[in-house]
Structure formats: structure tokens, C-alpha cells
Amino acid sequence: MSGTAPALGKDLTGLEPLSADQIRVILDTAEPFKEITGRRVKKVPVLRGKTIVNLFFEASTRTRISFEFAEKRLSADTVNIGAVGSSVSKGETLVDTARNLEAMSIDMVVIRHWSAGAAAFLAARIPSNVINAGDGAHEHPTQGLLDILTLRDHFGRLKGLRVCIVGDVLHSRVARSNIYGLVKLGAEVGVCGPRTLLPAGIEELGVRVFGRVEGAVEWADAINVLRLQLERMQDGFVPSLREYNRVFGITRELLEQAPGQLLILHPGPMNRGVEIDSDVADGPHSVILQQVTNGVAVRMAVLYLLAGGAPHLAEAARDWAGA
């Protein structure tokens, strides 16, 4: 690997450990990969011969498929392991699962786990590259990256950009990765949600707290709307979905009060009529589907860089397509 750009290291466990330069390298490297996704032959041979295991202890459709597309478009060989129907459901520990995979000479593991810290735990114990695809309420770095890439695409800058994350920040790994990444890149970050769903000391992460969504909308350039899991109501964090929608939901009426045109992001899957109304999700402010498209490109960039690819050669990789 050559050039002066900083390497990512062995793993991507989160955005908190990365420098602003490292995050920029990933975003820049995603650019040429975006273009490959739009081609007729969507494949480059940069990970040919590499074996990647997608180890999903928790159900996921969007993230797992996005990773799988990214891996296949880079010509890697992939194996998917889900919690149900595998040795994981037979009581095998995480460390034993990892050692067994290692013994089969794999190159990378993409892990989704319900427990915060699981990706770092695995990364410290196996020599393969580990990519965190979401660990408990800790981080979901590739989601954070694709959100940030989408913001950069739209606004052409991140410095000084005002982004407010609205919803269940307490349980959200997406919120944490967005906060770490955006703050490092010079954006101003706000959070807004019922106080029961904002974690202790959140201000100390360098974010501004909005008690009501009206204030957030007035302040922000973009709103990242978090999914409200239905369990949160059963656990008593919010008294009813109806009230949540009325007080914290992103509605067209709310957006009409905003002084400017607001960009609306949502990591999915959406609860239409709860945290976001359909006319917003499907409306002109929404970049929700662009996020999905960018997700594949960002994941290609991460896989490419962790495999040792040089940032400045990603452009060249694009030109191998169809070779």
C-alpha cells in the first residue's frame, strides 16, 4: 500500500476510534465505487480469492444484503451465518465461533451482535479483519458513514452543517456512529427525543439537546429520523405511539414550519405514521433511498481499504470493471 493517506488499521469497530482523515478517506474511496453500482457489469476483481463471513447474531435484512452486494461486487467469496439454525443457537460462545471460522482461513468477518462491544471483542481475538455491522446500542459505523456520505453528496460540505438526530437515541447505535463521525468532521449535531430516550451525559459527546422537535426543525439543515422500536412502548419509555407521533413525529405540517428546505434521512426500516409520516418519507425532502444506494458504495470502500487497497487506486479499480 502506498501514498500518504492514513490506513484504517485491521478493523472497523466504530467511528469513535477513527480520525477525521480516516473517515474522509472512506468517504472519498466510496465515490468511485458508487459509479460501479450504476454500471451494467457491477463487478471488479479487487477482492478476488478473499473469503468473507457475514456473522449475523441478530436479524437484519438491509444491512446484511447491502454487505453481501458490496462483497460480491468486489468479487469476494462470501458465507452467511445467522443465529438461527447455526452452532450459535446451540450455545457455542462467540469466541469459539470465531476460532472455528479462523481455522477455516477466512479473511474478513462482518459481525452483527446484540451485545455492545462484541465486534471489538472479536477483533481483539482473531487476526482477520473485523467489520462491525452493529453491536448492541454501541455503533453501526457503516450506517453512520453512509448517512454522512449522503449529507455530503447533498450539501457539498459537512463543516458547519447542522444535523439533528430525532428519536430513540438511548438504544440507537446509528445515533452514536452519526454523532462521532459528524462531530469529527466539523458538523454541528443536535439530538431530540423524549427525555426518557436520551442517554445520560449525551451533551458531553458534543451535541446540543432539543426538548421539542419544533426547535430542532427550526435549527437544523438535516434531520436523521430514528426508528422507534415498538418494544419501547411496552417498556414504558413512551406512553403511546399516537402521542409519540404527535409530539416527536416528523410530519409535513412540521416541515412546513421550517425556515428552509430540510433534508430527511432515515436508517430504516421505517414505522410509517410513528416516527415519520408517509408524505415526508416519500416526499421531496427525503433521501432515504439514496442512503440505501450509498450504503453499498460505502461498504465496498470499507472492504477495499481494510483488505489493503490504496485509496488512490480505487479509481483504477473502477476502470477494471468489465475487464
Binding site: 462484541a118 471483542f121 448492541g136 446500542a137 452514536r176 449525551i202
Partner: protein
């Protein structure tokens, strides 16, 4: 009658306020005389204690010896050997074994195994409630007759205020303390670390400090109302220490303990998800640590407890949420506290020795903790200048789960005597 003269040491007996250069004469397993220039009796042996501190053996009010049921973690034999290696000559064993120590037979087993093991003396605590289920009181009279020195549900709050009140009342008939893990169980449920900015950063479920404050406030109110003897286990918050201080001023019969890890480490240690720092109650903020040190120094908190909780390495080698709580502490408590509290000027050496011997003995009503003629010669010899590095691999405990592995420390135990016999030497 065999005798032993321990000669030329710095003899510290915190219970008597004594700190002198002199000798300790041991005869027939008991302390004969303490003072300068003693002569050996008859053909007795002599032990040179030049440069060493001679003090009452340490008393641990809170250790999990894990037997019966959890022998892969610790046995009574390995536990009492770890104890004497750390200078402890007495430990109060917790009843959260499998089966639970909640009847006279299981108390008798602990007592018998403790004697056979031949290390530190073992004083069992029995459960407050049958099976630690929080429903029905155990037979306090029966377990006390079998050798129990206290009752506790060990690591589990007695959730029912009625049952806790009954326990504090009934325990008075037998003059035993109720040892309490004070926490609002509902507020603490599911929490794996202190709730604060670190838990927010790591995305782990927090255990709020206010849960402990509420638990301590309830049990203090019940102790005050009943006149029962309450001993609050492993205080971890500034707020709880403040409540205890005010209750003592009102004359409530309360004692309290704090662990070395809560005295020295903060929740920042959890960054990196090290399960060796996963303990209950959790490591708290720097402000809590300062308040706990002050409370130990001013006597609000009577004593140091190790809360020695051995875990098998497989159990700790899991994702953070899945790893069990607990650290070992018997073999390192003195060294880490001497290094970081005494040498830092927070406590005097005599003050630390008091909190590790006379203090816990008084809190739990156990023998020991003083160099009184006629009492069993349970002694520790300490080299206060010894520099060493904590190495979990060399522990006598089966547990390697220390929060202090690799720490450079000053001061160590070089010899431990129980009943006048050397049971451990460096």
C-alpha cells in the same frame, strides 16, 4: 508450651492505638505479651521482624468462596489459601453457593471445610431468606447455633421491605448483623455498568447511582425504626456514603464496607469493554471515588471488604453483557490500598490496618483484629517497602479475574500466622 518471639518489628495494633518498635510473644497459639525488649520463654523460637510491620491479621467481611456448587471458580481450600497469602486470617463467606447456605447443615459444612482447609478462619454468613428468594426468613437461631455469624442474601437486595424489616427485627434476638446489598432492584435491572457518559458512549445499559441511594435510604430507615444491626455491603456512591454518615450521627446501628476497586477505579476503565472491570455495584465516577476515600478515612465506612468473587476464565471471556460480575481481591487488597491510599497520603498505615482488621471485626462482631494478650495469635507481617508486580497467573485463588493485573505496587505480606502457626510465607 511452644512459644514464638517475633522480634524487632514495628508493632501496630490499631484497636489499642499502639504503634511501637518492639516484640510480640506468642505462646500456646495465643498472644502472650506485646512490648519492647521481651525475652523468649524457655526454648522458644524467635523470628526476626526487623524492617517489618507486625499487625493483627486482616479480616474480610465479604468473600465468595464458591463451594459448594461452583468449585470450578474456587473451593474453600483454595479460597482460604488465597486469603492468607493476602494477609487475611479471617473471612466471612457469602451464602450464594449452590445449594444456598440457608440451613444448619450447609453452615456446618462450611465450618468443617474451613477448619480442614487450614488457612484463614472461615466465618459463614447464612442467607436471610430461604434459597435467597426473598420470600421466607431462614432459621436464624438454627444457623447461628451451627456457626453463622451474620445473615445476607449476598448480592441480591431483599426486595420486600416487609421481609427486610422482619430480618432486622429477628436478627436482634441473636445479636447478628444483617449484611445488605442495598439497591432498588427495579431501577438497577439489566444494568451492566455505572449509568453515565461512559455507558452512553459504549452503548451499555446503565445501573444508576440513584438505585443504590434509594436502597441505602430504605435500609437505613428500617434499621433506625427497628433498632437492628445493619451492615451495608460494598458502598459505591458518594450519595450512599453521605446517607450513612448522617445516619451514624443520628445513632443508627449501621456499619459499612467498601472494596479496593471501588476506592481506586472509575467507570472510565470500562472503555474497551474489559470484563475484568465488570463488577456489581459498578465502578462509578471520579467524584464517587473521592467521596468513598474520604468516607473510609473519616470512619463513615468502617472497613475494607474484598468482595472476592472468583470467576472461571471462560465465563469472563464473553461479550461484555454476557460476562458475569465480579473480581478477586484477597491477594491484592493490602498492596493496592497501601500503594494508592497510604503512600498517596489519603490514609495512614495504621488507619488502613484498622480498616482491614479491627474495623471489619467490630462491624461483624468477629474475634480478632487486635493484639490483645490471651487472644488467638492471628498475625500478619508486612514489608512496607517491598516492590512487586501483581501477576494474576501466580494467584493461589482459582480465580484470575483481577482488576489490577500488572499493577506495580509497594508493600506486601511476607508472613501470615493463624493461631500462632505460620500458614503462609513469601
Amino acid at each position: 508450651m511452644s512459644s514464638l518471639l517475633i522480634r524487632g518489628g514495628r508493632v501496630i495494633d490499631p484497636a489499642a492505638g499502639a504503634d511501637l518498635e518492639g516484640d510480640v510473644l506468642v505462646a500456646g497459639g495465643r498472644i502472650g505479651e506485646v512490648g519492647p525488649g521481651l525475652a523468649a520463654e524457655g526454648a522458644g523460637a524467635a523470628l526476626d521482624a526487623g524492617g517489618l510491620v507486625v499487625a493483627p491479621g486482616f479480616v474480610d467481611p465479604h468473600a465468595h468462596l464458591c463451594e459448594p456448587g461452583w468449585e470450578h471458580r474456587e473451593t474453600i481450600r483454595s479460597g482460604v489459601r488465597a486469603a492468607v497469602a493476602g494477609g487475611y486470617t479471617a473471612v466471612c463467606s457469602m451464602p450464594d453457593t449452590d445449594p444456598v447456605v440457608d440451613d444448619p447443615a450447609s453452615v456446618g459444612f462450611i465450618v468443617a471445610e474451613g477448619r480442614r482447609a487450614g488457612g484463614a478462619r472461615v466465618f459463614p454468613a447464612a442467607a436471610v431468606s430461604a434459597g435467597r428468594k426473598g420470600e421466607q426468613l431462614t432459621e436464624f437461631g438454627e444457623v447461628v447455633d451451627a456457626g453463622a455469624v451474620a445473615v445476607t442474601d449476598a448480592g441480591r437486595t431483599v426486595e420486600s421491605s416487609t421481609l427486610m424489616r422482619l430480618a432486622l427485627e429477628y436478627a436482634q434476638s441473636f445479636d447478628i448483623p444483617v449484611l445488605a446489598h442495598c439497591e432498588d432492584a427495579d431501577l438497577a435491572r439489566g444494568g451492566v455498568m455505572h449509568e453515565g457518559v461512559v455507558s452512553t458512549r459504549l452503548g451499555l445499559r446503565g445501573r444508576p447511582a440513584v438505585a443504590e441511594e434509594i436502597g441505602v435510604a430504605r435500609d437505613l430507615a428500617l434499621a433506625e425504626a427497628t433498632g437492628g444491626r445493619l451492615h451495608i455491603q460494598r458502598v459505591s456512591t458518594a450519595a450512599a456514603a453521605g446517607l450513612i454518615r448522617r445516619a451514624r450521627e443520628r445513632g443508627v446501628r449501621v456499619t459499612a464496607e467498601v472494596t479496593p476497586h471501588h476506592l481506586l477505579l472509575t467507570h472510565d476503565r470500562l472503555t474497551g469493554y474489559g470484563s475484568e472491570y465488570k463488577v456489581n455495584p459498578p465502578l462509578r465516577s471520579a467524584a464517587d471515588v473521592r467521596a468513598l476515600q474520604a468516607a473510609l478515612a473519616d470512619g463513615t465506612i468502617d472497613c475494607v471488604a474484598t468482595d472476592h468473587a472468583p470467576r472461571h476464565y471462560d465465563e469472563k471471556e464473553q461479550a461484555f453483557d454476557d460476562a458475569p460480575f465480579g473480581v478477586v481481591g484477597l491477594e491484592t487488597a493490602f498492596a493496592v490500598l497501601h500503594t494508592r491510599l497510604v503512600l498517596a497520603g489519603v490514609l495512614t498505615l495504621a488507619g488502613l490496618l484498622e480498616r482491614m482488621s479491627a474495623g471489619p471485626a467490630r462491624a461483624l462482631g468477629l474475634p480478632g483484629g487486635a493484639l490483645e494478650p490471651g487472644q488467638p495469635a492471628d498475625l500478619v507481617l508486612i514489608d512496607p517497602a517491598m516492590e512487586w508486580k501483581i501477576d494474576a497467573g501466580s494467584f493461589l485463588s482459582r480465580g484470575r479475574n483481577t482488576a489490577f493485573d500488572g499493577a506495580e505496587v509497594t508493600g506486601g505480606v511476607v508472613r501470615t500466622l493463624v493461631g500462632g502457626e505460620t500458614v503462609w510465607r513469601l
